[in-house]
């Protein structure tokens, strides 16, 4: 698997996701500095978490408009897998690779905690090693994770099964209290039409290390690696 992680000024979870991918695939992914717009041949491009450009103006706005993201969009159009986590999800919505927008958490606070996510599909490139309906527990760490899309977009997402993760209780019920940031329909992660681009707010990469007794994120990386073998 040839994977690369895009690094913007202010990106800060590139190590975390590299560790997770390495655990799953045995191969250390490469890092691409945002100014290097000549990307090598890749199977997977990750836009990691952090505070690209300080999250100033609007999270992901400046990175989303950067030249390297145009190149990422071109690759996405060719079917290269794209994974955007946290700030990466925000960047993907800003580039238009995914619909909607991430707004400030309804509680108006940065929120870092373990949350329950219900797996909505297990037939995608990103979730084949998981089980539909299961609830996984992984950390979130964000201030702007409140997913918004207008009614039409939302209906389209739901009708076409593009919601991959939803904030949920341990028993799988999708409730108001489980919805930690006010996202519409408890949405925590969505796919593009082709199912090749995933954006999600939670950090599965921070739940892949058995010695930390947090391993629920492993399934996602396993799915990606297997689908590319």
């Amino acid at each position: 698997m040839r994977a690369a992680i895009i690094v913007f000024p202010g990106t800060n979870r590139e190590k975390d996701i590299a560790d997770a991918l390495e655990r799953a695939s045995g191969v250390r992914p490469s890092f691409v500095w945002h100014r290097d717009t000549e990307l090598p041949d890749l199977d997977l491009i990750v836009v990691p978490g952090g505070f690209s450009y300080g999250d100033y103006l609007r999270c992901g706005a400046m990175a989303g408009n950067s030249p390297v993201m145009r190149v990422v969009a071109e690759r996405a159009a060719k079917g290269v897998r794209i994974l955007g986590v946290c700030n990466g999800f925000q960047v993907l919505t800003e580039t238009g690779l995914l619909p909607g927008a991430l707004m400030q958490n309804a509680g108006l606070k940065f929120l870092c905690k373990q949350v329950g996510l219900r797996v909505e599909r297990d037939d995608t490139l990103f979730s084949s090693a998981m089980t539909k309906g299961d609830v996984i527990h992984v950390p979130v760490a964000h201030n702007e994770g409140n997913y918004f899309a207008d009614d039409d977009t939302l209906a389209r997402l739901e009708d076409t099964g593009r919601v991959l993760f939803r904030y949920a209780e341990a028993d799988g019920s999708v409730t108001e209290t489980a919805n930690i940031n006010g996202s519409r329909n408890n949405i925590a992660g969505i796919l593009n039409d082709a199912g090749t681009v995933l954006g999600m707010m939670p950090h599965p990469e921070n739940a892949t290390d058995p010695s930390q007794r947090r391993i629920d994120g492993t399934g996602l990386f396993k799915s990606v690696v297997e689908s590319l073998q």
Partner: protein, 80 residues
């Protein structure tokens, strides 16, 4: 030339920040506040003094970067 861009949340998009201010004002004893909405103000100092050109340029800035059309509206006012 100076211009102000105001960026506000679209009607229908929830504004928890505005709600929180509204609530806090109530708590401080300010009565009669019907609604509060919070937006951004971006002050731009541009070279040149062609108002139309400036307007067009700032339009482009808003479309490209300053506002997110999914959730935000913007308004431009040229000051001087």
């Amino acid at each position: 030339m100076k211009a102000n861009v105001t960026i506000t949340l679209k009607k229908g998009v929830l504004d928890p920040q505005g709600k929180a201010i509204e609530h806090a004002l109530g708590g401080l004893g300010f009565d009669g506040v019907n609604e509060v909405r919070q937006g951004k103000l971006i002050e731009i100092d541009l070279e040149g003094d062609d108002v139309d050109a400036a307007q067009a340029q700032i339009e482009a800035m808003c479309a490209k970067l300053l506002a997110n059309p999914v959730i935000e509206d913007y308004a431009i006012s040229i000051i001087e």
